[in-house]
Structure formats: C-alpha cells, structure tokens
C-alpha cells in the first residue's frame, strides 16, 4: 500500500521543479473574490489602518514637540495641555488598531466559513464515482488543514500588507525629499530583494504545496487505519501499519523541512539587504559628506528613515511567506471546487410529480472502468406495483442495476424509463424523492436511534418513528437498551450488532414511504426468524409499489412477480419462481444448491 501509482494528483511531476507564478497570482485573486461582498467592512478596515498609521506617526511627533517646545523651555502649563492632547491621540490609536483587527478577523473568518461551506456543498454535487477513487481522510484534510492555512493568513496579511505599503510610500516620500541620491542608494536593494524573493518562492511555493499534499496523504492514512482498527488488531499488524505510517511521516517531514527552511530565508535575506544598504548609506553618504554634497544632519536622519523604510519591507516579505502557504492550501481547495459537477441536471430536466412505478430498461450498458463491461444490453420491464427480484452470483451486476436506476451512476448507453420518462431527463432530486432505499452497507450516523430512523422522513413524529421501528422489528431490541430510542450510536462498541443496524435502516426506509422501494441485501445479516417477521412487514410495504429486491436467500423472494437472473452483466433468465424452476436452468440449480451442498 506504499505504492502510490495512481494518486489523484495530476501535478505530481511538477514538484521540486518550477511553479508558475501565474498559478498563485490567480489563486490569490480567487481568494480575493471571496471578499467581494465585504467591501464596506473592508473599506472601514482600510480607514482604520490609515488612521492608526497616521496617529502612530503623530504621537512621536507631538512628544518631540513636547520636549523641544515645553520641557526644554520649562513651560509646564503648555506641557499639560499637550499631554492631554496626546492622551486623545493614544486613545484614538489604540481604538483604531483594535477596530481594524476586530473587523478584519470577522471578515477573514466569514471568508473562511464561506470557503469551507462551498467546499462541503461541492462535495455533494460531485458524483459517487468521484469518491470511489479518493481517500476520505485526504478529502477531509482539505476541509481542515488546507483551509486552516488560508485562515491564518487572512487574519493578519491584509492589514499588514496595507499598512506596510502605506508606511513604505510615506517613508520613501520623506527620503526623496531629504536626499534623492541617498534614496536611490537605499532603493538599490529593491531589485536585489525581488531577485532573492523570486529565487526563494520558486522553492517554497512548490514545497508548501508538497507539504500540504503529504499532510493530506497522512491524514488519509490515519483515517483509513483508524476506521479499520478491527482488522489491524485482529491480524496484529500494528508493526506493519507503523512502518507504512512512518514512510508517509518521513515524506511529510522532508517536505515540511524544506518548506520551512526556505521560508525562513526570507527575513534573513531582508536583513542582510538592509544591513548592506545601511553600510552603503554610511559609506557613500560619508564620502558625499566629505565632499560637502550632503550635510551630516541629513545622513543621520536618513539612516533613521532607511531603518523605517526597511521595516515595512521586511513585513511585506514575511507576509509573502504566509501568503504562499495560504496559496498552497487554497489551491487544493480550488482543485475540488473546479471538479466538474457531474451531478448537474440537464437544464430542461423535469420534475416527476407522482410515480406509478412502471420501470423499463432498454438496452442499457454500463461500465465502472473503461475496459471492463459491468452490465451490457439489459432489457426488461416492470409493471406498476410489481416486485422484481434480482438474483445472481456476486459481481453479476445486481447492485449496478440499482445504481443506474437511482442515477448514482449514469448508464453509458440505452435508456431507463420510469412511467415512460427517460430518467436522464428528470431531476435527480425529483427521481430519488420517489425512492426508498435499504442499501447494502447499513450506514448509520453518530446520533440517537430516533434521529437515525427519522432520517427517512425528517418531519416524522416520534410516534411515527416508533411505528416504523415496530414494523421493522427493531422496536423490541431498542426498548431493551438502557436509553431506548435515545441511545447514541457511534462507530465502535455501542453494542448494536450488524443485524440490528439493518433493522434500523429498514425502519428508516419504511418511514420514507416511497413509491419505489429498493432493498439491496436488506436482510443479509439478520437471522432468518427475525427475517420472516420483517418479511411480512416488507411484503405489506411492497404491496402496491414497485420494488427491487436483491437477495441471496431465495426463499425470501419466492413471492416476487418477476425474478431476473443475472450472470456476468446480462440477464440469463427471467420469470416467476415457479416458471424458473420449471426451466431447470441456472435458477433451478441455484435454488437447489440451497438444499444440497455439493459434497
């Protein structure tokens, strides 16, 4: 399982090589588009940044004034007035600093929330086949780890970048005013800085993305192994699992190491450039002063300003770093958002108002994988209210028929008609709203038994839930539980057996009260006596509605109006139980193998 030959990452080969800046520029733009409806608050934040920057300059200026004009001149009264004024300035400064952060956090987290919800909704618009090839944990990592990267950047970057630019412009203005030549010298580091940043981001960008991908991988592995703990333990394969984990862990460490190291270069690069420009100003400025071209006072002030100049540059460079890690996260989020939504209905898709239940398969073919036909040339029709049983060896295509009928997958060719409507021209939601399912894996959510049954029909009353449970024969065991219907089901050790889970999912389907009922191995883990009891309820449930039943125990389907015997993706035989027995073909031998084991 350490081979990752078909990872769903198309950009694999790019890592460690070039990452086109275009990519992250457009990603940043796209993140920015999330802000679009926050313009008002955002402009308030900008205003506050301007105010706080101005006040933070005004404060020291006034203090300078206080010293020069009052303290030196021992004007206590004037000083007191000025100090009062300063208090107002300081209050304003703190207030505007607080407000800009307060609002910005709100904006940033709203954006993150929107992004997260978008991602979640997108998952629901993707087809089932998308999920077949992905690890749960890997997808989960995008909702948590990747979005967290974006989140932590948005909180601070915007303000930082804006205030840095503001300070930068202001300082450069003053510097040009003081001495254009020295300004030029100071600015000489900017191209160098650009060059250095480019060199670093070329490396960090790719590394950050690789890190996020590896984090996703390890997230996926942890999820899978935690879900499969029972197997790991039963087979005492902890060591093996540990080894595989460590391979992934090492990969994550490796990419994290380089991402972090390279990103650490940025402030250091800025430092050395600053120091260099310091030395240049001192050196060249000194020479200029000797020649009398610049006054000493200007040099002294200039050095101070060039320090002020480098600080916002430094901040900008640092923001660049966090921005890159945000981009790495955001790209993985957008990757999912850009997946084609196979679940889109055709624009002219119709609603199915009431379903009588006539189902026709016309020459339907389908394959999950390209080279491998799963079902081909399926032809059959089901009258209103009939019960159809699908029988055949495993892998014959029984569940596939259900998948196609409910449009979890789309047939490759042929037509499926319900009441004469091609289901591809019907809205999926409308189609499924008429169907009730008991699926092969009886998945239950973490929550109470009551909530789980109610999932079949959300507005059902408690009484209706209990009635459905009674029909499904689940009531008796639920009642025996200490907390009854309030028992919380969780993944391990809730003391609910597989068979009991099936009973609950039958109750869930009963509650849904659909026109079309689909039972895929609904009773496979239930003992036959209980099954018999539910059978009556199911029989009653199937009365008057078209039902598709998949079952291995043939005695459960003897009453079916029509039995389709499937083999290798095609229909081998069809007819009623008695007809098929008379045929003395596949069904006959299947049925009798139930009585005799070929000894």
């Amino acid at each position: 399982m350490s081979k990752d030959s078909n990872r769903p990452h198309p950009h694999n080969h790019l890592f460690g090589k070039k990452v086109k800046p275009k990519n992250w520029a457009s990603t940043i733009k796209r993140i920015g588009s999330y802000f679009s409806d926050q313009k008002f608050l955002l402009s308030l934040v900008l205003l506050m940044v301007i105010i706080s920057s101005a006040l933070s300059l005004l404060g020291p200026f006034l203090i300078g004034m206080a010293i020069d004009s009052y303290i030196v001149k021992e004007n206590i009264e004037g000083l007191n007035k000025l100090l009062l004024g300063l208090i107002i300035v300081f209050v304003g400064q703190s207030l505007s600093t607080w407000l800009q952060n307060y609002w910005m956090i709100g904006i940033a987290q709203d954006t993150v929330l929107k992004m997260r919800n978008d991602l979640f909704n997108q998952f629901h618009r993707l087809s089932i086949s998308f999920f077949d090839k992905r690890q749960h944990g890997e997808l989960m990592s995008r909702v948590t780890n990747d979005i967290e990267n974006v989140s932590s950047t948005l909180n601070s970057s915007f303000i930082q970048v804006f205030s840095s630019i503001l300070t930068l412009v202001g300082t450069v203005g003053v510097m040009i005013y003081l001495s254009p030549i020295l300004t030029l010298i100071s600015l000489s580091i900017v191209p160098l800085m650009f060059f250095g940043l480019k060199w670093i981001t070329k490396r960090t960008g790719a590394r950050f993305k690789e890190q996020q991908r590896n984090l996703g991988e390890i997230n996926g592995y942890i999820e899978e192994i935690t879900s499969g703990q029972r197997i790991v333990k039963s087979f005492s394969q902890e060591k093996r699992v540990m080894e595989e984990f460590m391979t992934k862990n090492e990969r994550l460490r490796e990419s994290g190491y380089w991402a972090q190291t390279f990103s650490g270069f940025i402030p250091k690069l800025m430092n050395v450039l600053n120091n260099g420009s310091f030395a240049l100003i001192a050196g060249i400025g000194g020479v200029l002063a000797l020649n009398g071209k610049v006054s000493i006072g200007v040099i002294v002030i200039f050095v101070e300003y060039s320090r002020q100049f480098t600080r916002p540059l430094n901040d900008l460079a640092n923001q660049f770093n966090t921005l890159l890690s945000a981009v790495a996260g955001a790209e993985r989020v957008f990757e999912i958002l850009d997946e084609s939504q196979e679940e889109m209905d055709e624009t002219d898709a119709a609603e199915l108002s009431a379903v009588k239940g006539k189902v026709v398969f016309q020459d339907v073919s389908f394959s999950y994988e390209k080279d491998e036909k799963t079902v081909s040339g399926l032809n059959f029709s089901v009258k209103e209210g009939e019960t159809v049983a699908l029988v055949g060896p495993t892998g014959a295509g029984k569940t596939t028929i259900v998948n196609l009928l409910s449009r979890f997958y789309e047939s490759d060719s042929g037509q499926i008609l319900i009441d004469g409507h091609d289901i591809k021209k019907v809205k999926r939601s409308s189609l499924r709203s008429h169907m009730g399912f008991v699926l092969q894996d009886s998945f239950l959510f973490e929550g109470t038994i009551l909530e789980n049954i109610r999932y079949g029909r959300l507005n059902a009353t408690d009484e209706e839930v209990v009635n459905a449970a009674k029909l499904a024969n689940a009531h008796s065991f639920v009642q025996k539980l200490p907390k009854g219907y309030k028992t919380i089901l969780n993944q391990e050790g809730s003391g609910i057996s597989q068979g009991q889970k099936q009973l609950l999912s039958i109750a869930r389907a009963i509650l849904a009260d659909p026109s079309l009922l689909i039972l895929d191995e609904a009773t496979s883990s239930i003992d036959t006596i209980t099954e018999m009891k539910i059978q009556e309820a199911l029989q009653r449930l199937m009365q008057g509605r078209t039902s598709f039943v998949i079952a291995h125990r043939l005695n459960t389907i003897q009453q079916a109006d029509q039995i389709l015997v499937l083999h290798d993706g095609g229909i081998l035989e069809k007819g009623t139980h008695d007809e098929l027995l008379k045929n003395k073909k596949f069904y006959h031998s299947l049925y009798h193998s139930q009585l005799k084991q070929d000894a």
Binding site: T97, L215, Q237, E372
Partner: protein, 585 residues
C-alpha cells in the same frame, strides 16, 4: 501537556545552536548603530576617509555574518520543528495503535485525526517561530529596561512599575486564549466529524436526498468553529491596543514627571529623551510579545489535546504472567463460564457460556440478531476481555498468551469487509508478512476470488480500498476471507462473512476450507452452512440455547427447528431432514 513539550529535549543541541545563531544576529543588530555612530563621529566629522572605509567594511562583514547566522538558523530551526512534529506524530500514532476499543470510544476517529495532523502542525509552527524570534523579545525588553535604569533610575522606575502589570496581563491573556483555542480545536473536530460522516454515508445521503439537511449540519459545525475562532482571535488582538495604550500612558507620565524634575534641575532633558526613546522600543517589542502569546496559547491547547491521547491508559494489556513462549499449536478452544458486557455498559451480552471445540473441528454459531455472536468472537483474539470466566486456547487462558502471537494464530474475517487502499495482492498479503505471490494466489483460489481477480484489467495489481475499483459486496467479502486464509491460521473465525455470497460459491468456499487444518468458527444465518459443521451452538440472548449436531438439534431444540422451517418451508423441511440423514449414513 508538559510531556508533549518535553520531547523537545531530544534536540537540545540543535536548539542550542539555533538560539546561539539568533543571539549572533541580535548582536550584530545591536552593534550596527554603535558602528554607525563611530563612522559619523570619527569618520565624517573628522573627515577621515580611512575610518569610514574601515568601519564600513566591518559593518558589511558583520552584515554577512548575520546573514550566514540567519540562514544557518533556518536550517536548525526547521530541523528541530519538523523532527519534533515527526516525533509527536509517530508517538501518537504508535499510542493509538495500542489503543483498545474502549480507548477508541473516548476519542472519535475524526478527533484523533485532527490531533495527529492539525494540532501537530500548530506545535510545529510555534516551535519554529520560537527558535527564531522568541529570544529577541525578552532580550530587547530587558535591554530596554536596563538601559533606562542606567540612564536615570528614578524616571525608569515608571517602567519597572508598569511592566509587571503588563506581563501579568499577558499571562492572563495566555491562559484565557489557551482555553479558548482549545475550544477552537474541539470545534475543528466537529467539522471533521460531519465531513467524515458525509463521505462515508454519501450514497445514503444522496439516496435520501438529505443534502440540505447535511448542509445545515455542516454549516452549524463550521459556524461554531468560526464563532470560536473569531472570539479567541479577537481576545488576542485586544491585547495589542491595551499594551500600546498602557505603555503610551507610561510615556506621558515619564514626560510629565520628567518635566517637573527638569524644572527642579534634578534631571537633564537628554535623559528624558533617552528614556522616552527606550520606552518606544519597548512598546514595539510588546507587539512581538503578543504575537508570541498567540502562538503559545495555540500550542498550549494543541499540546493539551495531544497529551490527552498520549496519557490515555491502555486498559487491554498483557498480564504479568504472560508466557512468552506460548503459541497456538493445535487450535483447541474452550469457553469456561464466560460472561461479558461491554465496558461502560452493564447490559450483559454473554452469560455463563461454556463449550469446547477440538482442534480441526468446525463450530457453527447461530442465533438471532443481537444474541451475542460477534461479541463471542471478539473474546478469542482478545479484542475485548471477558468480564467473567475464561477463554482457553490449547488449554491455556488467552490472557497468558502474548497478544501478538495469540492473534497471529487466528484468522478473522469480520462481518464488514474492510479493505485498505492498495493492490489486491497487498490486501491479501496483509494477512501474512512476506507472503509469497503463490501463497496469495492459492489463498485467493480457496476464497473463490481468483477467477474474478484474473478478469480485472490489472489482476492482482488492481487497486482496491477507499481509492480502488468497484467491487461488489461479495467480492470484498471473499478478498477479506483470502486475507485470513493466507496466514494459515490455527483458528479461523468467519463472522457471517459469506452473507453476500451466492450459495454455489459459498459451497465451493466451504469445501476448500476443509483442506485447511484449522479449527473453524463460523457465524451464519444459513442452516445449509450450519449443518455441515461438527457442532452447532445456538445462542439466544447471550446464553447457550442449544448445542449439538444438526441431527441432534432437530430433535432437541424447538428454536432450531423453527429456524430450519423459516428457511426451507414445511415440505422442504422434511426433505432436509431426510437428506441429511441419508447422506450421513
């Protein structure tokens, strides 16, 4: 929590080097203004070009030294933080592998996942940041205060008074934010949980058209996460304006007090200016400190959560009288007055169960849904421990076996066929380390899956699991049976693992199983399967309802007869009765 931080000890040297490098950088930074002053005073003012050149070069050299130190610091800091994260992930994962199912109940999978990834990342980032800037802040702070004290101890007293208050305030922020970020991480678990459930139950959600319902659920979880994040970040961000304000007021006080002293002649104006300047520096350091506070409070929350996992007491451990040399040789299994209830619940699941199975025999277990069949299975490989009585394998209590060798001798096929991401051969080979490909193929043949695999485009290299091809329920079951067979277990336990198989395939499978020299436990609903077994155990509500062969039970157990009738109908029932009796003669 401290335990989590203590793992840093392993990187003492690297940490030391990283901190030393930070100090070097800091040193250069502090020297710079002094050199600058020298250039101006001795060079420019005295018109001495050589001094300018000399000190200019020194400054340039020092800048390079600082650069080298900074770059080297990056390597060391990343080394420490990444290895630290690596270590924690390893330790937590290792710990989780030793968890019993009871332990698992305490931590939902979604939470374990966040703890192992997101929380570790938080810690890692904090460590990296600390090694690079943490030293700066306190040093600059202390430096500023000391310098002001040297300049004028009376005026600087203001700072000495204010600072402890500020530090106390910061400590409060750290504490409060720490517990708030804890909530943030817990809410992240919530988001993760809903997401995971949605991924696992996607088909069901689509089938029942519950997208909007799930959307609400998710939006609630992510909304809660947002609320918590916003309020904790806002708390942190309050600290900067507060600190700034207090410091600024302190400066005003210095000015006011200073001006009085100046007019009394006890202080020079220059001293006031110097102290005001130092105070400004201190306030700029305070912003770094509040940044550090944020990182620390997040790290504290994450360390707590990781610590909880690491400190979990494993309740299923090897007993002290474990006999290291014990190994399953024959596969005899005996239950002696076994009772069992799940930890944390007092509902008895198994009651006073006694029976024994000889090596090589097959035991079929029947019983209604919820009668305790699967629970009984779990006691043999010690997935859970009995709460009364004992389970004996080859005459020895299972508690005396080393857990690993006990489980190595047992092949379990669980009810739900779980496959892992990987190829088919890797999945089958999971059952046995270093299984040769012919062993894998022969297990697949016996599990009746070989033919299906051959038909797949990549045969045994076909990828399955969460990221694999579409396999039917029955195909998954057979792969999971092959996984158990490949280890040639002494005890084979099939938990209703043939439910999705058609009877013909099942027949072939059972026939192939007979060639294995192992004791077989098989939970089944089907009489046709049960009647082939040497013994049938009929469980009802956790107790033995009946025990014997098919023929015996037909005569002694009304419940068994009822089950047979439920499967064959009245006329066939007579047939079955007759058939088995004739075939056994």
């Amino acid at each position: 929590m401290w335990k989590v931080f203590s793992y840093l000890k392993a990187y003492r040297v690297a940490i030391g080097v990283a901190l030393f490098l930070t100090l070097t950088e800091l040193g250069v930074e502090l020297l710079q203004p002094l050199i600058m002053a020298k250039i101006i005073d001795d060079g420019i003012l005295k018109s001495d070009l050589s001094v300018i050149k000399y000190w200019g070069a020194v400054m340039f050299g020092l800048a390079l030294v600082a650069f080298a130190a900074g770059i080297a610091n990056s390597f060391f800091s990343a080394h420490v933080s990444q290895n630290y994260g690596f270590d924690i992930r390893r330790r937590v994962f290792e710990k989780v592998q030793s968890f019993s199912f009871v332990n698992f109940n305490k931590f939902p999978a979604s939470s374990l996942i966040t703890r192992m990834t997101n929380d570790v990342t938080q810690l890692q980032n904090t460590v990296f940041m600390s090694l690079r800037i943490m030293l700066r802040a306190p040093l600059l702070l202390a430096g500023g205060v000391i310098m002001s004290l040297i300049v004028n101890s009376k005026l600087a007293l203001v700072l000495v008074v204010i600072l402890p208050f500020l530090l106390f305030f910061l400590k409060w922020v750290l504490q409060t934010a720490g517990s708030m970020f804890r909530d943030v991480q817990d809410k992240l678990d919530g988001v993760n949980r809903v997401m995971r459930e949605n991924l696992m139950g996607m088909r069901l959600i689509k089938a029942f058209l519950r997208r909007d319902f799930e959307k609400n659920r998710f939006e609630q979880a992510s909304g809660e996460l947002k609320e918590k994040t916003v309020s904790s970040l806002r708390l942190i961000e309050v600290s900067i304006p507060v600190l700034l304000f207090v410091m600024n007021i302190g400066i005003l006080f210095i000015l006011w007090f200073g001006s009085r002293q100046v007019s009394m002649g006890s202080i020079e104006v220059g001293e006031v200016v110097a102290i005001v300047n130092y105070s400004f520096r201190i306030s700029s350091v305070l912003t770094i400190i509040s940044f550090i506070i944020m990182a620390f409070s997040r790290a504290k929350a994450s360390a707590q959560r990781i610590g909880e996992v690491l400190d979990t007491e494993i309740d299923l451990v090897e007993s002290q009288d474990t006999d290291r040399s014990l190994k399953i040789v024959n596969g005899a299994v005996e239950f002696n007055k076994v009772s069992f209830h799940y930890p944390g619940s007092d509902v008895p699941v198994l009651k006073d169960l006694s029976f024994s199975v000889k090596p090589g025999e097959t035991l079929a277990i029947l019983g209604s849904t919820g009668s305790g069949k699967t629970s009984l299975f779990q006691l043999v490989p010690r997935l859970y421990d009995v709460t009364g009585g004992e389970v004996l394998v080859d005459g020895k209590n299972v508690m005396n076996y080393p857990i690993e060798t006990l489980r190595k001798g047992i092949g379990v096929v669980p009810q739900e066929a779980v496959l892992f991401t990987g190829s088919i051969s890797e999945n089958i080979g999971w059952g046995k380390e270093g299984a040769a490909s012919d062993e894998i193929i022969s297990a697949a043949i016996d599990a009746q899956i070989h033919e299906t695999v051959e038909k797949l485009p990549n045969q045994y290299d076909t990828r399955v699991g969460q990221r694999g091809v579409n396999l039917s329920g029955g195909q998954k079951q057979r792969l999971s049976i092959a996984r158990a067979l490949v280890r040639k277990p002494k005890i084979l336990m099939l938990d209703d693992s043939t439910s999705a198989l058609d009877l013909k395939t099942e027949g072939k499978l059972l026939k192939a199983l007979r060639t294995y020299s192992c004791t077989t436990f098989i939970i089944t609903q089907k009489i046709s399967t049960a009647m082939e077994a040497d013994h049938i155990l009929l469980l009802d509500d956790g107790a033995v309802e009946a025990w014997g062969t098919h023929e015996e039970l037909l005569n002694t157990s009304p419940l068994y007869v009822k089950i047979v009738q439920s499967q064959f109908g009245e006329e066939d029932f007579q047939h079955v009765k007759g058939f088995k009796q004739t075939s056994s003669t």
